[in-house]
């Protein structure tokens, strides 16, 4: 019942937005719905902490600690994004860029998008998980193209085409896992074969050759949606062209929802093959992603493209952490998913506010933000500090523990390479950030609306609080990690 409610709340809110003419109050209803998702996620997490696994819809939905944690992440970031959506839509309508009907459609699509992500992390069946992940692409395409400029159109084309190809390969991988599971002697046939629990039970008896092929396709396929190299090329375009609240959702959670799928399949494959094979695959794509991000970040001129390449970097770090695969490393991966999600969402939302106030997101044209818009500039600066993995933010803790995990399993060389590329990225972001925040300008200061300041500052405070002490989350993180670590 609880799980069905989690899915129904955002959908009901979306239907409400579609039915009513758009007003600010409708936007706040979306905020309320996403706050409810967060609250339900916390309730699920508390349940999971007591080792209860919630199920729903005749076992089609299932929430263990890992799913519950992902619901919390989705709830938190969609809450932040939907508050900024109220502001974004109000400004667009006031400026005559969009009609009220567009605002209704936008709200509907965002809520469907959130519901699809929730369905992905709550599906008991790994085939249904695939259907939900593919559905996120469909729901977000028109959101990426919402600004209807030429660039936005091109970005949405690239986005839907590349992601659909990737996800088709992931489907092939899923079919191969199903094939292997059907050929386990004495294993029950039927629709439940692709269920997570029965796959995990059968995993040590699956055919290794088939699982190897399947896992390669799954890493490539879901890796496309995660934004891992070599299939990352859609990401900077889509994330820079989408409206800021949508970018925040796509970068903050959608990428990691796709990574969640990889974590699940990795656990199955590790049961069959031992940890070595998937580790090698993840190290390759992880390091390649870091390399891509490090080599292209310095040349970016656009705030949102800079943030997008930063996402590729963090997905690479997460892939390396998952490659290590110890309980500590996976718990750190999960903390990183939350910390990166919060920090990246705050930065994208702040960049949306910069675009609204300054009319551009070109780094060169918005100098000295800190003196002209102290609050907005401060939030942006602290967000960058968080993303660069500096204390007190939680990304520092999670990166440290991922590296510790990598060292523990003999991946010290990969950890070293990742630290090296992080140093390059650090220098690049500092160069951009210094101009953006400190550079010289003679324009006079102006204030930032509280509607923007309060939620974004809240996101950063949460991220910092988690860095100082992950205490309230610690049992959940470890319980969730143990779901996918043997």
């Amino acid at each position: 019942m609880l799980l069905l409610t989690v899915l129904a709340v955002p959908l009901a809110a979306g239907a409400l937005a579609a039915a009513l003419p758009w007003r600010r109050a409708v936007g706040w209803a979306m905020v309320l719905a996403n706050a409810a998702v967060l609250a339900l996620g916390i309730a699920l997490a508390v349940q999971a902490d007591r080792r209860q696994v919630a199920t729903g819809l005749d076992g089609a939905l299932r929430a263990d600690a890992l799913s519950a944690f992902m619901v919390v992440v989705i709830g938190a970031i969609s809450l932040l994004a939907s508050i900024q959506s109220v502001r974004y839509l109000a400004v667009e309508i006031a400026r005559g860029e969009h009609g009220a009907r567009h605002a209704s459609l936008y709200s509907l699509l965002v809520q469907v998008f959130v519901a699809c992500m929730l369905a992905a992390v709550l599906s008991a069946n790994l085939g249904a998980l695939w259907v939900a992940v593919e559905a996120t692409t469909i729901a977000t395409t028109f959101l990426v193209g919402h600004r209807r400029s030429d660039k936005a159109l091109e970005a949405s084309w690239k986005y839907v085409l590349i992601c659909s190809v990737g996800i088709a390969l992931a489907f092939l991988g899923t079919v191969l896992v199903y094939f292997a599971a059907l050929h386990v002697p004495g294993h029950a046939a039927g629709a439940s074969v692709l269920d997570w629990t029965s796959l995990m039970r059968a995993s040590h008896r699956l055919d290794p050759a088939v699982v190897r092929l399947a896992m390669a396709l799954l890493v490539l396929g879901y890796g496309t949606k995660v934004g891992l190299a070599p299939m990352h090329s859609w990401l900077p375009d889509a994330h820079s062209q989408a409206p800021a609240p949508v970018s925040a959702l796509m970068s903050g959670v959608l990428l990691t929802v796709a990574f969640y799928a990889l974590l699940r399949f990795k656990a199955v494959a590790d049961g069959t093959l031992g940890p070595g094979f998937t580790r090698t695959l993840l190290v390759i794509v992880g390091l390649a992603s870091l390399l891509v991000a490090a080599s292209l970040l310095l040349t970016q001129h656009d705030v949102k493209r800079m943030l997008a390449y930063h996402s590729i970097e963090h997905m690479g770090l997460i892939a390396l952490g998952a490659a290590a695969g110890t309980t500590l490393a996976v718990a750190a991966v999960l903390l990183h998913i939350l910390g990166h999600g919060l920090a990246k969402a705050v930065l994208f939302l702040a960049s949306g506010e910069i675009l609204i106030e300054e009319g551009t997101s070109e780094i060169d044209e918005i100098p000295a933000l800190l003196s002209r818009r102290p609050l907005l500039g401060g939030i942006f600066g602290l967000g960058l500090v968080a993303l660069l993995g500096l204390p007190p933010f939680s990304l520092f803790v999670s990166e440290l523990n991922m590296v510790r995990g990598e060292l523990a399993v003999g991946l010290g060389w990969a950890a070293g390479l990742s630290l090296l590329s992080m140093a390059v990225i650090f220098a690049a972001v500092m160069a951009h950030g210094r101009h953006l925040l400190l550079g010289g300008s003679d324009r006079s200061p102006s204030a930032t609306t509280r509607l923007v300041g309060i939620p974004l500052a809240g996101g950063l405070v949460l991220c910092a609080a988690l860095g100082l002490s992950a205490w309230p989350l610690q049992p959940l993180l470890y319980a969730a990690a143990r779901v996918v670590v043997r």
Partner: protein, 219 residues
């Protein structure tokens, strides 16, 4: 254990799917490409129907109907609407010419037999042995995607990949569970709707749907 008329139908249908993919490399007329997709859809539906008769599985009959409606009729119909606005449109300048593409296709077929070797070695079954045909279709689809520049050709490439995956799924596991299959078909149909809308908007905006001329976003 599987034999007789149904197996012959399955073999024939699987062959048609791969042949359709290879022919797609040869034809440059976009309308011909769309008909080839329709042909593949019909072959996949026939294959599912044959499996339905053989396995006495009603679910597969439903799947056959859905595949025929989605891949055989709806998707080619949607693509035809994009092309109709621009009659006589052809894939003018593929990055690789036709003879070279056909040689590449031959290499890809051999490659897919090599890749699928573990499958056929471990589970020798008349259907499993056909799986490389599906893999080859996937690879040819990927080849179309990277070498063709027209929007419609790229959609065709995506759908070739998708049909190849569907073929592998039918051959190896008699399709995925029914609900997953329905969800997947719906997803693919919606993706094509989305792409059709985007292609139509691009034509209205730019007067063409040539992706080589869309180069505003790059690093």
């Amino acid at each position: 254990m599987r034999s007789g008329a149904e197996l012959a139908v399955v073999e024939m249908a699987a062959g048609v799917v791969l042949a359709g993919a290879v022919l797609a490399l040869w034809r440059k007329d976009l309308r011909a490409l769309i008909s080839l997709l329709g042909l593949q859809g019909a072959a996949l539906a026939t294959l599912a129907a044959a499996l339905c008769v053989h396995d006495r599985d009603i679910g597969l009959g439903v799947v056959a109907g859905v595949v025929l409606l989605a891949k055989g009729l709806a998707i080619p119909g949607l693509l035809a609407r994009v092309v109709r606005a621009d009659p006589g449109s052809r894939e003018t300048a593929p990055l690789v010419n036709v003879p070279a593409s056909l040689v590449a296709a031959a290499v890809l077929v051999v490659l897919s037999y090599l890749v699928a070797d573990p499958l056929t070695a471990v589970f020798p079954d008349p259907l499993t042995r056909l799986a490389p045909l599906g893999l080859a279709t996937v690879l040819v689809g990927l080849f179309v995607l990277v070498t063709r520049r027209k929007a419609v050709s790229q959609i065709v490439g995506l759908l070739l990949v998708d049909n190849g995956v569907a073929l592998v799924a039918f051959l190896l596991t008699a399709g995925v569970p029914l609900l997953v299959e329905l969800g997947a078909s719906l997803d693919v149909l919606l993706v094509v709707v989305v792409l059709q809308v985007l292609a139509t908007t691009m034509r209205a905006r730019f007067g063409h749907v040539d992706l080589d001329q869309l180069r505003e976003l790059h690093d």
